[in-house]
């Protein structure tokens, strides 16, 4: 699993990266939106944990661009600034989840794993249909993220029950 953390708060994101590493999630770190887009061009991560308020490019703009160019990358928003409107916009742009800082590290790790699992399921299901010659269905699945996102929602509910 390849995870990218995007946050301009260097101390915060470094510690976050260390803590996720201890939980078996290796991460790369960049500190602004443009760097994130450049990183994505070179090596496509599975999951991006994205801050919203950063110098240069606002995180929502990064999400907007990614949803057009790399819709398979799952994005978890992690922000201290978020408003209700941001949350709605993130949902509209198909962000996997929207968390507010500070958050519990194990909850974040679970969300990252959930996002990765969702991406895998989506890719595998599309591949299975393609192999069976159901190209239309495969195409639908690849396009229609919401249908399979239910799996992600169930995952989230399980988490809620645990906490």
């Amino acid at each position: 699993m390849k995870v990218l953390l995007v946050d301009d708060e260097i101390d915060f994101v470094t510690t976050l990266s260390n803590r996720l590493g201890l939980r078996g999630i290796e991460t790369d770190v960049v500190h602004d939106g443009q760097e994130a887009l450049d990183y994505v061009k070179d090596q496509e991560p599975d999951v991006i944990v994205l801050d919203l308020k950063m110098p240069g490019m606002y995180g929502m703009e990064v999400l907007r661009r990614l949803s057009k160019t790399n819709p398979d990358i799952q994005v978890v928003i992690l922000t201290g600034h978020g408003t209700d409107r941001d949350e709605e916009e993130a949902q509209r742009l198909k962000a996997f989840d929207y968390l507010r800082k500070p958050t519990d590290i194990d909850k974040l790790a679970d969300r990252i794993r959930g996002a990765y699992r969702f991406k895998l399921e989506k890719t595998m299901a599309a591949a299975a249909f393609a192999e069976a010659g159901e190209f239309d269905m495969a195409k639908d699945i690849a396009k229609d993220a919401e249908r399979l996102k239910t799996a992600g929602e169930i995952f989230k509910d399980e988490d809620k029950d645990k906490t």
Partner: protein, 261 residues
Amino acid sequence: MGETQAGLATEQTSMVQRTGDVEVDLGLRIAQLQVLSRALTNVAHDIQNHLAAINESAGWMGDLLNLKNKHRFGWIGRFFKRGERHRLDTTPFFGEIDTIQKQVVHGSTSNRRLGDFAHRLEETQSVFSGNKALEEIRDVLLKGAAEKDVHIEMELADGAPMVETDPPGFQLAVFCGVEQVMEGLESGDRLVLEADVRDGRFHVRLTSSRRVESPHEPPRGPDGQDFSRAIVQELGGQIWKQPGERNHITTLAFPLAAAGT
């Protein structure tokens, strides 16, 4: 006749002048409010980031102590002496870390509400959660209530639909309403803020545990009108005040958002 006309014209000019002054003053006030709101939103965001960093650092210390317990002779083991006699009791450390993280959660909850409250001041007509706005108001009022030793309780309307009105107006109306009631309360009194949805409106009911014998003079606008009443009416809502035998109830009703918004 000529004198009367001249007098009327002078009065009219003076009224226009006064109206113009009020408009300029109002414009300045709005600009001030917007600047204040943006500044407050930014400060709240910065504080939230600091709290998040503190939370992660404390959590990281906990992670390292856990590592030490799991791998006593690993790389971190060199910080500790071997043998049970010298084994470090980590319980108090975890206790402190837990306290730090709990305080961070409390601080960040209040700060987030303050940030949301400030952010709403920037908006005009919009659709928002009345419950959330009430929670923000309660947090803003808690300190003053504690100083006065008045206990504030809140009962929200579960799953209430969104309210559609001017958010700062909504908050100001409820705030003024609560302040009016609070003025009449004394140490040990109780104030209950309840929200529910009735007759297609979002109702906020303020019930004080004391009958306010000599109601506090409400804040008044330039034309002498009761401020909270004026604001609620301006927002398309209603306000009722019912002094009871042993308590005092103020109800404010606001329009709900149309379905699907």
